[in-house]
Structures are given as C-alpha cells and as structure tokens.
Symmetry: C2
Subunit: 217 residues, 2 copies
C-alpha cells in the first residue's frame, strides 16, 4: 500500500498523474473525508469522487477503506515520531532541556497537522488491534520518547524525586495532544506561543531546583 502499483487502462485526468502524486492526493483526500464524516460514515465513493477517479481505480492502491485509515493514521504518527525522536537525540547534555524541545516540537507538529491529528485521535480505535499495534509500536514508542527523557532527567537529578515518569509522560502528552481541540490557525495564540507555554509549564511542573537551574532556555 505504501508503494502502490498502478495498472494501465482507461484513465481520467487524475489517474494520469504520476503514481506517487496520486497516492499523496488520495491520502490527503481520505484524511479530509474521514475528518468531515467520521470513518464509519465515510465512503470510498465520496473519496473517489473528490479526486475525480472511478471508485474501482482506488483498488489499484488499497484493498479496503480500512487500508486507507491505516495509511492516514500511520503517516501522521510516523511523521510526528520522527520529529520528537530527532529532538530527543539533540545535542544538549540536559535531558530536561531536550524534553523542552520535544514538547515544543510535538505541539507545533500538532498545530500544523490539525486534520490528520484529529483523525488519528478520533479514529485510531476503529482499526483492529494488530494494525493499531503496528501504528503505535509494541512499546508505545511515542509516549516512550517522553517517558525515557523524564527517566533520564530524574536519574540526573533534574526531576523531582516524587514524580512518576510514566504518569508525567501521560500527563504532558495529554496537555500537548489536547491542543488540536482548541488551536485555530487564525486564533488568538500562535502555534509557537502555545508550544512555548506548554513546554515551559510542563518542565517547571516536574523539575527539581537543580533541573530548573541547569535547563537554560
């Protein structure tokens, strides 16, 4: 599915575009339709109509509506994961400082990908268990990035002794995820402003005195 193979035949204008471009268009349109209608109510017919393809031509790319949902949620998840993983491995020797960057990066990624993020958060549960696990990774890789940094920071004395890293990771990721519900591109607060606020308050929330002092921002 990620490397669709097309077949020759009678093709519309949309269908004559390069395969990779058509695939991107298909994913983008499916994301929008899932967002507007909800996954259950969304139909392959409508997705095909919007990109000017015959419904039957969709089957060159996917076998079912579920395949499309899998691709949509997997794509936004993998992209976000790449962002936070890169930031977590950044040059700063302070894990708390790196966590600060990871939170900012995650929030900005969310703000710049509102529609696919909403589909991910609303519809992930519509996938069967095995495909859900395929997206999230066996060890909840996304949450794991946050948790590992908090554990590392705690071991370095940058996080208070009474903070549970798993609980803190869930809580920080939660406040960051929730942004998709209230951020608006034309709203009062910019993505950058929200990202900085959330990172700053999350770090102060868990930091030890030494952590606050060592975490230069």
């Amino acid at each position: 599915m990620a490397n669709p193979t097309g077949l020759a035949g009678r093709r519309s204008a949309a269908e004559r575009k390069p395969r990779k471009e058509r695939w991107a268009e298909l994913i983008e349109t499916a994301t929008q339709v899932f967002y507007e209608r909800g996954y259950e109510a969304a139909s392959l017919q409508e997705i095909a109509n919007r990109i000017g393809m015959l419904k039957g031509s969709l089957y060159y790319y996917i076998q079912s509506k579920e395949d499309l949902l899998f691709e949509v949620v997997n794509e936004v998840h993998q992209k976000g994961l790449a962002v936070v993983t890169a930031l977590a491995q950044g040059p700063s020797p302070s894990p708390l400082e790196r966590l600060h960057r990871v939170i900012r990066g995650h929030v900005e990624h969310t703000c710049h990908n509102l529609v696919p993020t909403a589909v991910f958060l609303h519809e992930l549960s519509a996938l069967p268990e095995d495909r859900r696990r395929q997206v999230l990774g066996d060890k909840h890789s996304y949450q794991g990035v946050f948790r590992s940094l908090i554990e590392e920071a705690k071991a370095a004395g940058e996080v208070r002794e009474d903070v549970d890293p798993k609980l803190a990771a869930l809580s920080i990721l939660g406040s960051a995820n929730w942004v998709y519900r209230w951020y608006r591109p034309d709203g009062e607060f910019s993505a950058q402003q929200i990202a900085s606020h959330l990172a700053e308050t999350a770090i102060r929330g868990i930091a030890s005195e030494a952590g606050l002092a060592s975490c230069t921002r």
Copy 2:
C-alpha cells in the same frame, strides 16, 4: 424535558416505575448507547429496547434524539461545573491553593464519570450552536473558573508575570480533560493519584516563587 410529564396508558414494567427514576434510567441508557455507537449511529429504538419501553413512550420525555443528547451533555457539564465552582469558592485565602483543589476536583469528577465525559467531549459538536451555547454558557463558564483563579493568583503575585491566564487555563483544562482517554478504573494509577499529580505539576508550572511558598500542600 428536565421535568418530564408522563401520560397514563398501557405501560410496561419499566414504564410503571416512578417518573423521576425512569428519567434517570433513560439518561443513563442514552449515555451508554451514545458512547458505544456514537451519536449519529445511535437510535431511539435501541435506547427504548434496552430499558424495556416502547419507542413511542420515549416521546413522553423528549421530542427528538437531539433532546436526549442535550440532556446527557448538559447534565455531566452542570455537575462538573458545580464541583469546580464550589471548590473555587473554598476557604483558602490563596487563589493558587484553591486552583489546586479545583484541578484535583475536576480530574476526579472526570475519572468517576468517564462515559458521560467521553460523550460530552465527542458529541457536543453534534448539537446546534444555540444549544451548545446553552450548555457551555455564554462566557465558557467552566474554563472561566480556571481562568479567573489564575488571574486572581497573578494579581496576588502567586503566578509568574509572563503567564497568560487564558492560555494557562486552556492548557490546564486540556491536560485534565485528556485523562478520560487513558484513565482506567482497574489501571495502574488511581483517580486520586492522577488528580494529585496533575494539580501539583500544573501549579508548579505557573507559580511564582512567592506562589509556591504560599501554597501549602
């Protein structure tokens, strides 16, 4: 609707129960069905079946499925609002200390009302604008409780100068709301434990040095 009037006639066992009791049962069942199926897919027929009433008898209580959704989301919202409003007006002279209690109270309310909270958060947008405003209040009363306390705390020097009260209120309410997605009654963390953690980290996130010192916990 909140004070339903019944009519006499041929009545099933469920229908012979006192009116107030039947109303409570109707709301509870509707909440469950909206949760399981989603509002769009839920049918009055199924709700009637589950409580052993004729579908036609539902019209003694409501005029439409939308009336039921309104009642469900309004009830959980009003209950939560009563909890946080009472805590916000508590005896402590420190607004930050009161905010701490408000956050704990909101998180515990969420954990103890997982299903109606999920319906509220997922389906509020299915109500037309005027009924949504009727639930939330013109000035977003729920968010307002958090925001007012943060403003008060800032004026008292308990909150850092660079904290925007509206942004902070949205962010705190967000991390607290998100709990409905991962809290499980039989899970690793108790409602109380999550509530304390979220309150503690949120307060530390925005407090000035004076605020931290004055907020005895």
